[in-house]
Amino acid sequence: MDGIHDLGGTQGFGRIDIEADEPVFHHPWQRTSFALMMATQIVMRSHNTDEYRHAIERMHPAHYLLCDYYERVLTGTVSLLLEKGHLSREDLEQRAGGVFELAGPVADRPMADLTPQPEARFSVGDRVRVLTISPSGHIRAPKFCRGHEGTVIHRAPKFRFPDTSAHGGELRKEHTYHVEFASKDLWSDSDAANDSVIVDLWDSYLEASS
């Protein structure tokens, strides 16, 4: 999904300030929101982590940008509880005393047509290119690296493929690779002569490059 969540490289944001001695939670509701997120996935088994991440991605862009992280956590969690039929919106809004902002719906055809890769196709040192796919559903290849070439610097174990896992597709696992991209290849006007960005990418996001 080419959503607001895929923030890497977006310009126009301001300074980043570190809060000294920041507590784990600033407000008690944040702690509860976190615990609800964990309990619905681990105790209730209502949904998996990929569905959860995608639910947050489906929030309205203005709501996403404006709200606290733990409000995103709650919004994604509750959207799935409603979509899975565990709770009703009417009951929730009655209890909450007002409109309960939720994530938007899943796209009709959320998954790109990618071939599963049961065996690792790439090795450290290989040059690879990220496919220029743009599915409307969950994908963990950031937009900023799609279509770009990089070098494999590490091969990680197999992990569940998020694009299908988030959408009830075939459960499969694939190796991921730490692919290093030169910053100046990603952004033409970068002044980062020697700097690089490393992205952890699933096998089927990649193709061999020369």
Binding site: I16, T32, L87, G98, A156, V199
Partner: protein, 202 residues
């Protein structure tokens, strides 16, 4: 009426109200218990950057541990008791005099909870997520870390399941410090890579 206007004119429940409503609806339905929630809230308090700081201090003082950490950080951290959710596959990134590492999750806010703790607000901010991949040197400078242009910056995007921790350079003048004292020099910010390890206080 435009959609935005519409969104802004309907009365909304506050976030506190929404959290309470969700919690009570799930408890009333018998789907979760107060004890479940307490359990996860307590876990969150146990994941702390002090854990990662201890890992770093040991790596600085114990060459065998350092080698194990760089080879397989998941096991090395587990050895010290740090494991669990978002710590299933940890990779340690060692800074060198000419290479500095920094971590971000541009798509959500993933972090190695068992060793770094739940991430701070700045790490979760759209500004950090958007900017540090594109202009890391400037972002680090704004955050108080001025790196020489000779030092190459590697920005690690946590978009898949690998979770990273940075092993910062050991500060000068710390030869005589104990492992505990060394751990005190390593902040959460240093473990993420937006700060260096602190120099020893006199």
């Amino acid at each position: 009426m435009s959609e935005e206007t519409d969104r802004n004119t309907r009365p909304k429940a506050s976030i506190e109200q929404r959290v309470v409503a969700t919690k009570e609806a799930l408890i009333d339905a018998g789907r979760i218990t107060e004890a479940d929630l307490d359990q996860f809230a307590h876990m969150a308090q146990d994941w702390r950057p002090e854990n990662g700081a201890k890992v770093v201090a040991r790596a600085w003082t114990d060459p065998d541990f350092r080698a194990r950490l760089l080879e397989d950080a998941t096991s090395a951290c587990a050895e010290m008791g740090y494991a669990g959710p978002q710590g299933e596959y940890i990779v340690a990134l060692e800074d060198t005099p000419d290479r500095h590492n920094v971590i971000v999750c541009t798509q959500c806010s993933c972090t190695a909870w068992p060793v770094l703790g739940l991430p701070p607000d700045w790490y979760k901010s759209p500004a950090y997520r958007a900017r540090v991949v594109r202009e890391p040197r400037r972002v680090l400078r704004e955050m108080g870390l001025q790196l020489s242009n000779e030092v190459a910056i590697r920005v690690w995007e946590t978009s898949a399941e690998t979770r990273y921790m940075v092993i910062p350079l050991r500060p000068e003048g710390t030869q005589s410090l104990t492992e505990d004292a060394l751990a005190n020099l390593v902040s959460r910010e240093a473990l993420i890579g937006v700060a260096l390890a602190n120099p020893p206080t006199r």
